[in-house]
Symmetry: C2
Subunit: 479 residues, 2 copies
């Protein structure tokens, strides 16, 4: 079977076997390949192009809000990782250790960074002297390594790609504000770039980042009813600053510790895109991160004037700044349609001899397959409008799907029954005790996804133990 | 001493101690910091911004020539690294080995990639089936690790940043053409983006890449007379294809091996920038890779209208697409001048009350300190012209310096004397025997930098042994 034949072959139906459907899309849309390194994937050109667009969208937002990119080393000496007690306890069990350089055994082991708080702290201790040096608003785009036992493309791999922001501030207020601002930036990015609605909230103590005071999260809902932790921001307080001795001379000449944050979004966002928008024909990409926003398929392209007209159309749309693919390969149009649907290209334009005679092209949107005749003279306005309409449509669909997946449960029996039969978020009160969280996990495999302020009615009781509730929680099974 | 005081303090003079001058600039211009990981540096915001601009310049050229970005894993299993005999011999002595994941000892060691030929080959063997799949023109932007004993910022570090191109072709001709095309692209990039002239040529057998048939190089000349290998392209032949069984079905239905290339430019190009253009006041940046191309320094900025006028000017220049910094910090103009000269900002514009009254600003170019009065009404054309003129001026100066550093020597005695007293390239014939290369290295520490076609006069004799010469060679001491 040739590669082209493989591409047009049907994939597993989403409702039949969601996990296989997901993997089928990853491979068939040529987003990634398995590698010879267990638990690590190869990002193929199409998958990497999506990641490049995601990074560009985020990077622009980071720079507009005053953040600067830097690059820390790939390795962390064991002694440095151990400086903050909670942090090392959280990460040491899952890091990869470098023990030899060439033929020589290292005196101190180095771990491959699982996250870089310790490196940033070490650097901040060196470069921060005075209140004039603050805030430091740094970010880096790198891959990190965590030695996971079970892996799935994009969702959980031993090496993954991400950005990690690390900031240092003069006061706790400023650092808390940064933590919440970045959470808001993440949510806005998900809505406006990936067309993915998210819940925002606080993580419980047992789910928070190792070494943080507070962890905030954006949580998305996948088509199968499972939650995806899509990005987190951490208020680190001054715990790291004390462990690493990061002090500054304040305006009153007093030495004070800085207050820090860190935050990250990873390549698992690509997994989210697939599981929120994809369908039985493959990927559906929001225009902002589609490597090609428009594919032009000439019909009867051997006929005089067809390819010329298709090229003219392509050049016109490129001049608008759109990413356009003119598919003039020697395959049948039907095959091209299938391939570009698999790859989730938002808009297909068909141009054949009759269309040209009538001064139009046929536009087909990837999500709803709506066919429209577009007068060629107007494409400069109609094509961008169709792309924007697609974004709004898939966002609205995802919002409705998220809302439909949130249910309230106030007693333990129906909580367990619902969680084990109807996938989605359950909104239910919690007393705040870890024992109750543990019980939820044991009986349903679900976890507290996030705590949401201001939603707890007076006199609520913990859905597990019945004691007075302290938080309203969104519970769910998660990737 | 505060950070600002350190910034304006003089650095070591270039002619007094070139090595210290270099390190002073790296640290004082805040390009990088030493890290707690021996041999690895931290790229600070200013250094990383230069690297981002270098990557953007190269990435655009790669994409325009049909290359696609991908991402391979960070690790290479030991067995995979060993598949190509010459390759593993070249790299095994200098790789970092991961032996443990979490608590568990790995069954097979993984090395942190020193270069990724083996990973690309493994992937190509899986995805290439037919002549229709060729060529594959892939590239990746990553860091790689080589366990070097002696390190220097940018020039030689255990972790460094680069792009590595890896291509597969149907025929040897196509692969050779790609190897030479990429060499030409590198040379054009160095001239037009970094204002650095380079020599292009072939590496000798002893200097070529481990596993390659041929290695081509671009070599630059530093201010101290030492050569810098600034980028290499390798024609790999079908050796890797045979070791990894990368075959395709040709049009005539025959199975054939692909022919491959690889090529890379690294963050040492930043070291080259410093050592070609820098002076006793710091860095001098070519506009294409300057994080700020223009710095505006208000004079007497507390006076009415000064800051407003400076802001207007800044906005106008930004609207042209220029990268502009308005330095309205509360420091004295003289301190600002020194800092931005240290950081190599190509053009400084000064705006004071008298300038505003006369409808002008003062422009000072970083390289020659020429002061010009620019009428404000024309800055849209004069500022881009001044930047272009600076680029041409520093390129011409570097070209002259390169030419002045090339001398011919035809006898061994004067070759040794010149090499050990007058730094630069010596152009001298060579018989092609490794023993003669080894002798040069032993007596002068110089190496053959590159072999240049068509420059060998009839009847030339090897400068070392006197036997008939086969190549004209540029010899030099190198970083």
């Amino acid at each position: 079977m040739s590669k082209n034949e493989k591409l047009v072959q049907a994939i597993t139906s989403r409702d039949e076997d969601f996990a296989r459907w997901y993997t089928d899309i990853c491979l068939r849309a040529e987003l990634c390949s398995y590698s010879s390194v267990r638990g690590c994937i190869i990002l193929r050109p199409y998958g990497y192009a999506i990641w490049e667009l995601i990074t560009a969208e985020l990077d622009r937002r980071f720079k507009e809000t005053g953040h600067q990119n830097v690059m820390m080393p790939l390795f962390i000496p064991e002694g440095l990782l151990q400086k903050e007690k909670d942090h090392v306890e959280g990460f040491a069990p899952e890091v990869a250790w470098v023990t030899h350089g060439g033929e020589e055994k290292l005196q101190e082991r180095l771990c491959v960074r699982p996250t870089s708080e310790t490196l940033f702290c070490d650097h901040y201790a060196e470069i921060i002297e005075s209140w004039r040096d603050l805030p430091k608003l740094y970010n880096q785009w790198v891959s990190v390594v965590r030695w996971e036992k079970t892996t799935r493309p994009f969702l959980r791999t031993r090496e993954f790609f991400w950005q990690e922001g690390h900031t240092a501030h003069a006061t706790a207020e400023e650092a808390v504000k940064e933590t919440l601002d970045m959470l808001e930036l993440y949510a806005e990015f998900y809505e406006n770039a990936l067309a993915m609605p998210v819940l925002r909230g606080l993580k419980s103590e047992s789910e928070k980042f190792a070494g943080a005071v507070n962890t905030y999260t954006v949580e998305a809902m996948m088509h199968d009813g499972k939650a995806l932790q899509a990005g987190t921001t951490h208020y680190l307080g001054d715990g790291f600053a004390k462990a690493f001795n990061i002090v500054y001379t304040d305006k009153d000449n007093t030495l004070r510790h800085v207050h820090q944050t860190s935050w990250g979004i990873s390549s698992r966002s690509i997994g989210g895109l697939i599981m929120v928008h994809g369908d039985d024909d493959g990927l559906v990409l929001p225009p902002a991160v589609a490597p090609y926003q428009v594919v032009i398929v000439p019909i009867a392209q051997h006929k005089e004037g067809v390819l010329e007209e298709a090229k003219k159309l392509s050049e016109r749309l490129k001049a608008l700044g759109l990413r356009v693919l003119l598919d003039d390969s020697d395959r049948m149009p039907g095959w091209k349609f299938s391939e570009h649907e698999m790859k989730g290209v938002p808009l297909r334009l068909e141009v054949g001899p009759r269309d040209i005679a009538e001064g139009r092209c046929i536009a087909v949107s990837r999500d709803n397959r709506e066919k429209l005749e577009l007068p060629l003279e107007n494409v400069d306005t109609t094509v961008p409008e169709l792309l924007e309409a697609l974004h709004q449509r898939i966002l609205l669909r995802a919002k409705k799907s998220l809302e439909a997946r949130i249910v309230d449960r106030n007693d333990w029996e129906s909580f367990v029954e619902t969680m084990n039969t109807v996938p989605g978020f359950i909104r239910a009160p919690w007393c705040g005790e870890e024992a109750c969280e543990a019980q939820v996990k044991e009986e349903t495999t679900a976890t507290s996804r996030c705590l949401i302020d201001g939603e707890l009615p007076e006199g609520s009781h913990c859905v597990v133990c019945g004691k007075p509730a302290r938080h309203m929680v969104y519970w769910g099974k998660a990737y």
